[in-house]
């Protein structure tokens, strides 16, 4: 009994610490959200549910939770509240996505994330509350990633989890990656390296790493024998790959084309990394292969690929999420900032549903699954007591094109409100003619 209370205290303490780490939240703050509809992901959807938040942590979610007297109540009767979206893989928000040396596992995106990058602002606007920022697809061992909130003035305040995920790219670095179009590969500008080279370099690196560790152990032993003190440290540049080998990190292996998937699996088997696959447009070809290995998959932003049927000359739609869903593979989406619909996670999920993916699964694939893939599902991805209160308030059904993100709550704090979104206003409303005149007058006066 006493012990439990002690434990609770500990937990709350830890939580406080954690939450204060992330952003400045006043301690012991209670918030109650009265939502028209709560999509918990964890359980069934709740009509007119109440979410009780304490210190940024969800305490309870149910139809009738009695609300403490000192709780601030947020009325959201006409809103749909669901866990904030999670983006499992992106290389945006960095000044440059790739180092031009093939093997740089020791780099970290933490040092390169630019908090003022419009990408983060957009992500927040689009309801994303957590994302894994990894190096780009053009480096063999690109470096380690960082899980951040798209909110905060410094990378420290944005930070959720430093040093998580290591990017491996089996595709050779090229200007235009080998893409699958018209049922065949179009390969505009080949780089000077080939897939053979990539794999060979990878093997070489692992062999040398093994060599290094053996010798290191050897030296340690010698020192012990010779009663010397041994203060040599492991080479920090090698640390990430070592952590990968002993399971501290997850390998995000980019497979530019389907043919890279078997190789990724080979790597996984030989070194047993815990692996997530970042697929190219034609990754669906390897669906059953992946389903056998039960690997998590992060799909290419372009979900629908056209393929020409050799016999009938018919143009056939291949829809990756539908195929992976049938194969029983868990998948998450990427977004493509330049693209029309593809820039929204909800739109990707809607596309999946359009082509036959179960709605619940689709919603999971933009919340819970990505959270699992990047190892933050203990705090993100669903509305359950004990998880962080990072929620989105939607004006309607999440998969409806007419739905907007009305509010975004991160850790119990409302950090975005559409009503106060100046940029969005400018993008949607007609400019006042006076503005133009004003500026011209100013010019004249100068």
């Amino acid at each position: 009994m006493r012990f439990r209370s002690f434990a609770v205290v500990c937990v709350t303490l830890i939580v406080c610490v954690v939450s204060t780490l992330g952003y400045a939240a006043p301690v012991r703050k209670k918030v109650a959200i009265k939502a028209g509809k709560v999509i918990t992901i964890a359980g069934p959807e709740i009509q007119d549910g109440v979410i009780l938040v304490e210190d940024g942590i969800i305490k309870a979610v149910d139809k009738n939770v009695e609300i403490p007297w000192d709780a601030e109540v947020i009325e959201a009767k006409d809103r749909v509240v669901m866990p904030g979206f999670v983006l499992a893989h992106t290389s945006n928000g960095l000044d440059a996505q790739n180092e031009n040396v093939p093997e740089v596992p020791f780099l970290s995106t933490f040092d390169s994330i630019d908090p003022v990058s419009p990408f983060f602002e957009d992500s927040l606007r689009d309801g994303v509350v957590a994302m894994l920022v990894l190096p780009g697809n053009n480096t063999l061992l690109g470096g380690t990633g960082t899980v951040v909130r798209p909110y905060g003035r410094t990378v420290e305040t944005m930070l959720i989890k430093r040093y998580s995920g290591l990017k491996i790219s089996l595709a050779p670095p090229v200007q235009q990656t080998l893409r699958y179009m018209d049922g065949r590969y179009s390969y505009q500008s080949t780089a000077s390296v080939s897939r053979m080279g990539q794999m060979q370099r990878f093997r070489r690196y692992m062999a040398e790493l093994k060599d290094y560790l053996e010798q290191y152990e050897q030296r340690k032993k010698d020192a012990k024998e010779q009663e010397k003190s041994f203060d040599e440290e492991i080479d920090p540049r090698k640390q990430p790959m070592i952590d990968l080998s002993n399971g501290k990190l997850t390998a995000f292996i980019y497979c530019g084309i389907a043919a890279d998937v078997p190789k990724a699996i080979e790597i996984q088997e030989t070194h047993n990394f815990n692996t997530a696959l970042v697929l190219g447009t034609d990754g669906y070809k390897a669906a059953d292969l992946i389903s056998k290995k039960k690997m998590p998959v992060i799909l290419d932003p372009q979900l629908v690929v056209w393929e020409t049927n050799e016999e009938t000359y018919a143009e056939e739609m291949k829809v990756a999420p539908a195929i992976f869903y049938k194969a029983g593979v868990k998948f998450a989406f990427q977004t493509d900032t330049s693209e029309y619909g593809r820039r929204y996670l909800w739109y990707q999920a809607a596309t999946a549903v359009r082509y036959g993916v179960d709605r619940a699964e689709a919603l999971k694939s933009i919340t819970l699954y990505p959270a699992q893939f990047i190892g933050i599902d203990n705090r993100f991805g669903s509305i359950e007591s004990g998880k962080e209160a990072s929620l989105v308030f939607l004006t309607g059904d999440p998969l409806d094109a007419q739905t907007w993100v009305d509010k975004v709550m991160i850790g119990g704090e409302i950090v975005y409100e559409k009503a106060k979104d100046v940029r969005l206003k400018k993008l949607l409303e007609k400019p006042k003619p006076e503005e133009g005149q004003q500026t011209s007058q100013d010019k004249n006066t100068d």
Binding site: M196, G197, G328
Partner: protein
């Protein structure tokens, strides 16, 4: 609900796989009009018994066990699966070469795309295995492999043997600009690489010795230490000071390039050199003499001019393309190409395998045609057929598995309705490892 769906799917997948496995295990007996065993002449009205993927028995009086599926090929020709020794099937375009000139450690298997569409078409022409090798843009381009055309989603599933040869090239013109200097450069830099390998090996040996020495010393020291301690107990401390610690020798960095080339020098892996012109061919032969390695001559366009020398060295040749028509644009080094090349070489007693060396993966389907064209240009009929079955298998060291119809070999069997070299012969059925992978409608 979702999870149970998953389970169901997995279950069905599992069942599917078991089913296919079952079909592989099934015993098959082929009653054949004529069996061209390649290795042992023609058997008329014979029976081939296939059991779990291997040829169990073949001959005229073979008892067919009950339960075996009997395939009737009374008026048909049964031959071992054809092999294209110069194929690009499965290999992704633009992935044939690495920019580095000397990179023998590259493995073509890493450039293989198991999801290609062409496989079925090539299979339908009786081809059951292909040899793929890196391109000729690098001096030492990498390791080749033998792939089977059995379906499979990973390179591992389709590969028959890896590291069959290190692909090299001498005197390949860049953008049809050829100069004798570049040829010289090619030849000498390959030679350099081999010489460096030798020194590398020496270093490694040296290290091993030193290491052994060090271990010995260390052991001695231990002994001494013990005695010292005893002396110390006696209270004399002189010898303890005179203790010089042996130092562990530094381990030389392992270099994959040289590791592979070492295996080449050790005759474990043959060196397959693409050479077209006489001087290049002679250079290649000189390399073989100097380093005493297992040489395979690739393309060998002007081989007919120096057939005797090649024959004397007993160097196998993968002649091809039989006609420059198979190439996209015949490069400079094909200028003196002669369709009679293969014929002349084999007449002179050179071990000749034929390849299509076509413009893309699907071209491998023309291997039988290529052999027929070789016959038209004077090659012996049987030699030509051997050159697309057993000979390549021998050259690449897989003759124990494929290349001929013998007891114990893989049941890679093709049933033609006419002699395979007849232009209009049709493939009726193809078996790979006892599994029926193609059947004509």
């Amino acid at each position: 609900m979702v999870s149970c769906k998953h389970i169901f799917i997995l279950l069905s997948l599992f069942l599917l796989s078991t089913v296919t496995a079952g079909s592989a295990a099934e015993n098959i007996a082929i009653r054949a009009g004529n069996i061209l065993t390649i290795s042992g002449g023609v058997i008329e009205n014979g029976i081939i018994l296939v059991e779990d993927g291997k040829i169990k028995a073949l001959g005229q009086e073979v008892v067919v066990p009950d339960g075996a599926r009997v395939i009737d090929a009374k008026d048909k020709y049964v031959v071992p699966g054809l092999v294209d020794a110069q194929s690009r099937l499965y290999v992704i375009d633009g992935e044939l070469n690495e920019s580095r000139a000397v990179a023998p450690e590259l493995d073509i298997l890493d450039a293989v795309d198991p999801f290609i569409k062409e496989r079925q078409e090539v299979l339908a022409q009786g081809v059951t295995a292909v040899c793929v090798a890196p391109g000729n843009r690098g001096l030492l381009g990498g390791l080749g492999a033998i792939l089977k055309l059995s379906g499979g989603k990973t390179a591992k599933d389709i590969v028959l043997r890896t590291n069959v040869a290190v692909k090299g090239a001498i005197g390949i013109s860049r953008s049809n600009q050829s100069s004798s200097l570049t040829r010289l450069e090619n030849y000498s830099s390959i030679r350099e690489a081999l010489l460096e390998t030798q020194t590398y090996m020496q270093q490694k040996r040296k290290y091993d010795q030193e290491l052994a020495e060090y271990e010995k010393k260390k052991a001695e020291k231990k002994e001494q230490a013990k005695t010292d301690d005893q002396q110390a107990d006696k209270g004399d401390t002189t010898s303890r000071a005179a203790k010089d610690k042996p130092t562990r020798p530094a381990k030389p960095r392992t270099n994959p390039t040289y590791e592979i080339l070492a295996r080449v020098l050790g005759k474990e892996i043959p060196l397959q050199i693409e050479a077209h012109r006489v001087d290049d061919i002679l250079n290649a032969l000189r390399l073989a003499d100097e380093f005493d390695l297992r040489l395979i001559l690739d393309k060998c366009t002007e081989g007919y001019k120096v057939a005797d020398q090649i024959a004397r060295r007993k160097v196998p040749v993968i002649a091809g393309p039989i006609s420059t028509s198979f190439l996209d644009t015949p490069a400079l080094e094909y200028r003196n190409h002669d369709t009679r090349n293969a014929a002349i070489l084999s007449k002179k007693g050179v071990k000749v395998a034929l390849g299509v060396a076509g413009r893309d993966g699907a071209s491998s389907k023309f291997i039988a045609l290529a052999a027929a064209m070789a016959v038209a240009n004077g090659m012996d009929r049987h030699a030509a057929l051997r050159a697309i079955t057993l000979t390549p298998a021998e050259i690449f060291g897989v003759a124990d598995r494929i290349g001929s119809l013998e007891v114990g070999k893989d049941a890679d069997v093709v049933i033609f309705n006419r002699h395979p070299l007849d232009a209009f012969s049709q493939v009726e059925m193809v078996l790979i490892e006892g599994k029926i992978v193609y059947e004509r409608k």
